[in-house]
Assembly symmetry: C2
């Protein structure tokens, strides 16, 4: 499984590099004046082969990846089709339960519905342009959308993870069709999680010790992001372990 994944990652990176060169040379096919593909390619190229720092997170502490309240990216895969979207309305509803708003217009939604799984990932400062890019175009209109976004895979899960993020949570859809239909809310049970241990280690964020480009990003409106900032530690409060 590991060799297969390595081979897949290797082939993906070669294909990605070819596409990236082609885009760089020809310019993007679609008219997306405000998005600078080159910036995304350059920034994402830093993450190639960086899966070595991805470490498992205990399920009981995975909620902490999300509790900081950052903007997320949601990925899914079904029948060989993989996609990633950006999502600001993703939160917790318990220590193992995720609530994600996935609108009907999102191509990713059908992949989630059909596969029964989605991945919530925590993007960082160096990925802000990628977050806007992934949120701004749909696979339905631009199936080449993911060519500039490097995915990797973890053993046992046939789900695309976006390289360069600070954390990843695999969520198994809890079937509540009424909530999905009426409110576009998908509830997920967290079944696996990983973090980049340069910034989240032993169940805790260590932003103040990590490079600033690994800080989480919090999108508000009108192109405005805020990175997570300075830490303050009290000697009491929930989640001491």
């Amino acid at each position: 499984m590991n060799n297969e994944n390595n081979l897949r990652t290797f082939l993906r990176l070669i294909a990605w590099r070819i596409v990236a060169r082609w885009i760089t040379k020809e310019g993007p096919k679609m008219n997306m004046p405000s998005i600078n593909i080159q910036i995304i390619i350059t920034l994402n190229s830093m993450h190639k082969g960086k899966t070595m720092s991805v470490q498992p997170v205990e399920i009981s502490k995975a909620y902490r990846l999300l509790q900081v309240g950052s903007t997320t990216m949601i990925s899914a895969k079904y029948d060989g089709v993989e996609n990633v979207m950006s999502a600001a309305w993703v939160g917790l509803a318990g220590e193992r339960k995720v609530v994600a708003y996935i609108g009907t217009q999102a191509f990713t939604r059908q992949l989630v519905e059909k596969s029964g799984y989605f991945v919530v990932q925590i993007p960082v400062v160096s990925q802000m342009a990628t977050v806007l890019y992934a949120g701004g175009r749909s696979y339905a209109d631009a199936p080449d959308k993911n060519d500039t976004i490097p995915f990797f895979y973890q053993p046992e899960f046939d789900l695309p993870l976006v390289a360069g993020c600070a954390g990843w949570l695999v969520c198994k859809v809890m079937p509540y069709p009424d909530i999905q239909q009426q409110h576009n809310l998908f509830m997920g049970d967290i079944v696996a999680a990983w973090s980049d241990d340069r910034v989240f280690r032993n169940g805790h964020w260590i932003f103040d010790d990590a490079p600033d480009e690994l800080r989480t990003v919090h999108y508000v409106a009108g192109g405005q992001f805020y990175a997570i900032g300075k830490g303050s530690k009290f000697d009491h409060g929930p989640g001491q372990d």
Copy 2:
């Protein structure tokens, strides 16, 4: 209504000052070794009478108060009993829809169920100790809990708002009893919102221009908060208005 509110606020502040003096002199009744009540009193005393900078926020832009992903405080009132709790699991499920996890152990829950309203407020750096305090004790065990937390009222809403926060969203409970019972989730329609316009103005956060003590706070675990940090502005992205 305004005069009544002003009188109420005035009487509350006097009562609060008396209680604060008593606590300062006698020490807290309960054994709460790690919480320094004096710090909370001192910090909260800065917010007395500061309601002048509270300005209405357009309903269509109120979601931005929450989208930054901070830890929140939830307040409610029923039959003259007011309370506030801290809550990390509060998010958005649409541009006017809030989803708040309120566990069965929370005293505030019955106030929300009976009144049909709750307020989500966005606390800031100067309130971190208050967030831990409000989250660490229940009105059921300590009905004097709110004596150290200064409330104020806005016209037309008989709901306690915590002074010193950066934003307040009044949510009308959308009755989904199954979701409330099964998942402890309360969905709310945002019906009114205000912000401290020193830090959120014209529908936008202006953290980098405001005093650092007005930054939002994001609780993770083990007494660890992070304040919101540095802003980055792109020329594209949803929510341009």
